[in-house]
């Protein structure tokens, strides 16, 4: 299983029946492919829709119906559309159960940096700051390292997205939960050792006595 699939499958297990879920641009969108059976998730996109469905068949696109990455999507029966103030009202008002976002760095306080690299890449925060500040649960989907360098760090060197700590970090090596005492190693990926996780993590990790292996089919 490749890293992206593993991460997406593991995050999918966090989604529960009836949840309103926002999936960020890129890898997070893969999560939709692996939601548990018999679980009804409402996917929203911050450009103004709840009940977003999969990519349409060729020839069945609608020019007015896109996701936040400008890709064509479908609207499932029971979907609804609204303006941007309402959309971010839902996000910031605590009505969004889960947001899954990519990350550049997460630090020991659980703070995420994911919207710019000063002097290099300034795409803007888009909806990320509202999503991290407002969602009931923030899950970071990212590779454990970038070009061999740890992305889970003592303190973010990149500008943070919010002071609100994220709730879960899922990488191809581990599941890590930011807590008040620090970052806790909750699970490791199949075939990975705790030592390998530690070697690839700059931040201090709290290691419980029993660290189970991710349950991924």
């Amino acid at each position: 299983m490749d890293a992206k699939t593993l991460i997406a499958k593991r995050i999918a297990l966090e989604l529960k029946d009836g949840y309103l879920v926002n999936l960020g641009i890129g890898t997070p969108t893969l999560v939709a492919n692996y939601t548990p059976k018999n679980v009804n998730i409402f996917f929203e996109s911050e450009n103004g829709i709840i009940g977003m469905g999969p990519i349409p068949q060729e020839g069945m696109e609608n020019a007015d119906l896109i996701n936040a990455s400008a890709g064509y999507v479908t609207a499932l029966p029971g979907s609804s559309c609204f303006d941007s103030a309402t959309s971010f009202g839902l996000i910031r008002g605590g009505h969004l159960d889960v947001t899954v976002l990519g990350g550049l760095q997460v630090d020991e306080k659980g703070r995420l940096a994911n919207w710019m690299i000063p002097g290099k890449m300034i795409p803007g925060m888009g909806g990320a700051m509202d999503l991290v500040t407002g969602a009931k649960r923030v899950i970071v989907s990212m590779t454990h390292t970038a070009k061999g360098k740890p992305k889970i760090v003592k303190e973010c060197t990149l500008p943070i997205t919010s002071i609100r700590p994220v709730d879960l970090i899922v990488t191809e090596m581990a599941v890590i939960e930011p807590t008040k005492s620090g970052l806790v190693l909750k699970e490791i990926a199949p075939g990975i050792t705790i030592d390998e996780v530690l070697r690839n993590t700059e931040a201090h990790l709290i290691i419980p006595e029993n660290v189970p292996i991710m349950k991924i089919e």
Binding site: S45, E46, N47, G48, I49, N62, A63, D64, L65, I66, A68, S69, A70, A75, C81, F82, D83, S84, A85, S87, F88, G89, I91, R92, M121, I122, P123, G124, M125, G126, G127, A128, M129, D130, T133, G134, P159, I160, T161, S162, I163, R164
Partner: protein, 217 residues
């Protein structure tokens, strides 16, 4: 409300005007009106828009033609030209979190002096802003954004100017329709007065000054 041709309506916009333009990555952007701004080479514009879309789409075209002096947006990552002009200091860019952008535009439209949002607290978005603490929680005081003109896109209008939007092409359009001195709507069709049920009107006619019909559809 008055029905005009794009050439006539864009003539009213002076160089240096501030204009809000609806749309999210080009969807819900009034393409005809943007093209006409380029035809008439309006210069030194201040543009408020969610994003700078793509170099060949949406307001991205205005950036490429260097007609924009200042851009207020939440995301510029899909249009490399925006970042290049920003780095060369040819273009001033104010990056605003998307939910904050929506509320600031709404605040101008509904006569509020400002809003308190948790989004951006403790990040670089806080710089230069008043922080208000209430019940131990910090908020940024964010100020209204008003424009001389709003250029919006709706699916249809009636002959009084009532507007209805389509799917995710709604986005920023309804709030911008309240936040500018002159509101110009581009629609795909104009229907008889009375053909739009009162409960399905998204923007009431009294907000709309001019309507143009996109001849390309």
């Amino acid at each position: 409300m008055q029905v005009l041709k794009p050439t006539e309506v864009i003539k009213m916009i002076p160089d240096g005007a501030s204009i809000m333009v609806g749309g999210f990555l080009g969807v819900g952007t009034p393409a005809c009106l943007v093209d006409e701004i380029i035809n008439q080479e309006k210069k030194d514009l201040t543009v408020m828009c969610n994003d700078s879309a793509f170099p060949d789409r949406g307001i991205g075209k205005l950036i490429v033609k260097k007609l924009v002096k200042k851009l207020i947006a939440s995301h510029i990552g899909t249009n490399p030209e925006t970042q290049q002009q920003m780095i060369k200091k040819e273009l001033e860019v104010e990056l605003v979190p998307q939910g904050t952008l929506a509320e600031r535009i709404r605040a101008a439209g509904v006569g509020l002096g400002g809003i308190l949002t948790p989004t951006g607290v403790g990040t670089i978005v806080e710089d230069g802003k008043q922080v208000v603490e209430l019940d131990g929680k910090k908020y940024l005081l964010e100020l209204p954004i008003h424009a001389d003109f709003a250029l919006i896109k709706a699916k249809r209008s009636d002959y009084l100017g009532n507007l209805a939007y389509s799917l995710t092409a709604r986005n920023f359009n309804p709030i911008m329709a309240m936040a500018a001195d002159i509101v110009i709507a581009e629609v795909e069709e104009i229907i008889p007065v009375g053909a739009m049920p009162p409960d399905e009107v998204h923007t009431p006619n009294v907000l709309v000054d001019y309507v143009i019909v996109d001849g390309r559809r």
